[in-house]
């Protein structure tokens, strides 16, 4: 069965500290992995996707097929990074997204 697991409900760090939001997945095929973010009072929006291998707002994520992980990292957290982060898996050739439960990132001043 396809599943996305985000083990931490809440991650609290101080400004300037490194951040790693964990995501593990279960999928038998070749998945596409995404990170979505929801800032306070805003709609859910795409942050980054693994196939683009891009850095958005200083965040990066590497797909590790051996460990079936797609952790989101940022070397120096900023207060404006405080938000809810969702890891999601898209089944090949379909639009269906399977989301994890989400991790709240709280960056303290």
């Amino acid at each position: 069965a396809q599943r996305v697991t985000q083990p931490e409900k809440l991650l609290s760090v101080f400004k300037g500290a490194p951040v790693e939001l964990k995501c593990n997945y279960s999928y038998s095929g070749s998945p596409e992995l995404f990170w979505y973010v929801q800032y306070s009072r805003q709609r859910l929006q795409l942050l980054l996707r693994h196939i683009s291998r891009e850095s958005i707002k200083g965040f990066t994520a590497d797909l590790n097929k051996g460990e079936t992980s797609f952790h989101l990292k940022k070397p120096f957290a900023q207060e404006e990074d405080s938000a809810m982060y969702y890891c999601a898996l898209r089944k090949s050739n379909t639009g269906k997204l399977i989301f994890g439960q989400g991790t709240t990132l709280q960056v303290k001043p």
Partner: protein, 116 residues
Amino acid sequence: EAGVVQSPRYKIIEKKQPVAFWCNPISGHNTLYWYLQNLGQGPELLIRYENEEAVDDSQLPKDRFSAERLKGVDSTLKIQPAELGDSAVYLCASSSISGTGTYEQYFGPGTRLTVT
């Protein structure tokens, strides 16, 4: 561009009453999704439309939920009758196939339903 539009934003009803949610996707997006998001959980797909056709409704509780997308643009999701457990946020999203074959989904603000 207003993005995906949903209405109403909030709805409070008594159990056993009917309720309907409306979604207007981004212009030109042929794929429309309805998601259910329970408190403290990630969104879960209820139904996906490709134009007018429901291509994945396996997670839609068909005894009380129904959806339609006439003319392949706007969509309505209905619950009849509502139950206490239906209290959640209902999200609509839309997408089109990009040049790379990916489907970036754009989400609406959601409708928060409270059933009392």
